[in-house]
Symmetry: C2
Subunit: 275 residues, 2 copies
């Protein structure tokens, strides 16, 4: 999928919502835990209920790896189900991989060829050859960590050479490795005021913004500082949507949360004149 | 396993060799490819042949993920086989994970509880809460990327605040998060001259040193600059050992390479007066 198609999907659904599938077997409703594949059964119902309001889904790979080979199968089934349910969905494997070139190529095969997702989150620490293999697949994306939403972001991402912070150095350097059609950046919503600086450095790239909801970020702030003239934002909410209800009504509760966010997003897109 | 036990194992085997199981189905001998689980069958023979010369094994998770759920099963079987074959082996999952605290806890469960490895490689970019969950398991280790062996290491790891490079900042900051019994650092052999600076910052921690062999690093240089009075080194070789032979003799060829490295290591340990 290229950036223009993604923008078209955003306009069609009037939403730039990404639903994070951080599916924790301890948190899913009791009645699903006896299913043969509880992670998939939970995801399937969440997807059925929320897909009209979302343009993207982001399974967090850790939550599947916890269950070993069976977890991987649940992840693969989830990706296949998303594709089948709505071919316009942008599917992100949130795996934060990063390794030397020959290993990165293996990860690219694992996620782009075998699993068939559109995008993979990637860590920048190991530099260009750890990212390049993901940029060589037409229509696929690397989503590089720049400024994350967690407290530990302070430790190294703000390390500075006196002119710029490390996360700004990552944005500046890495934006030369790819294009706005195959490279996005993660910028946490808990630091929305920083989005202005990010936009100055990468005016055209899409940003994947986690941290709205459970982590406390504000959607209005994110849109004010981060939206560009092709939207340029995918805002993720995970726990705030998928665990909105805890019982038999969990899918309806998730849909209500997703619809609520979609409506806020529609208003923000209208204010910007994009829909 | 604590650091003293690891050192005892090093003295017993007169080796600080880590064998990297970067098992690529395209590179294993033809006659194994028809097996039901070729990755495991290759690994099993490599382990049988090389374990007298190695204190540690490091499966590279990417090479298993490439095969989806089946690849995870091969990885799980490999770890179980290592445990059974030689309970003294130190098993590292080379996965380079790094994510916010609640996700890092999932990765810790996946690798430490379910898979049962001793150590996991971890990327530092997201800071303390992305590493802390791995340090909370008694006897388990986080192995944090500091200075890597690939060309892309130049991009960000040498970013400097005028006093120190980023990789030095990582060493200094992160060494306060754990102890020399639960935290190691990755320092590439292709930059052996930098090991002196690394040792100044973390005199007591074990270092995991990739890049000897296929990537061109020198074992003598690594030992000269990096060895401390409890050895403090695990030197990894992957492709140089496991693909030393390409035919039916591949396991014997791997054993010969591993034995050769073990003998060089024995000499270096003797020179240092550690065996």
């Amino acid at each position: 999928m290229d950036a223009l198609t993604l923008f078209r999907n955003i306009r069609e659904k009037k939403s730039f919502l990404c639903v994070g599938l951080d599916t924790d077997v301890r948190k899913i409703p009791e009645f699903l835990r006896d299913e043969e594949d509880p992670l998939f059964e939970f995801n399937r119902r969440i997807i059925d209920a929320t897909h009209p309001f979302a343009v993207a889904y982001k399974p967090n790979v850790a939550f599947y790896e916890e269950h070993g080979a069976g977890g991987w199968r649940a992840l693969e089934r989830t990706v296949a189900y998303l594709r089948e349910k709505d071919p316009s969905l942008f599917i992100i494997a949130d795996a934060k991989r990063g390794d030397i070139g020959n290993t990165a190529r293996m990860y690219a095969r694992a996620f782009f060829e075998r699993m068939g997702v559109d995008a993979l989150t990637v860590a920048p620490y190991m530099g260009s050859d750890s990212v390049q293999p993901f940029l060589e697949y037409p229509g696929k994306w690397a989503i590089l960590l720049a400024l994350t939403s967690n407290p530990g972001a302070e430790d190294f991402q703000f390390f500075s050479d006196g002119k710029r912070h490390l996360y700004e150095q990552v944005l500046t350097t890495a934006s030369g490795w790819g294009t706005s059609d195959n490279l996005m950046f993660v910028t946490g919503a808990t630091r929305a005021e920083r989005l202005r600086d990010v936009r100055r450095l990468v005016p055209e790239h899409f940003l994947l913004v986690p941290g709205v909801g459970a982590q406390g970020g504000s959607l209005e702030e994110v849109a004010r500082h981060g939206m560009n003239d092709r939207c340029g934002l995918l805002v993720n909410s995970s726990r705030g949507i998928i665990y909105a209800g805890g019982q038999e009504d969990f899918a309806e509760a998730a849909a209500a949360k997703a619809r609520d966010l979609q409506r806020q997003m529609q208003r923000l897109l209208e204010e910007k004149g994009l829909v």
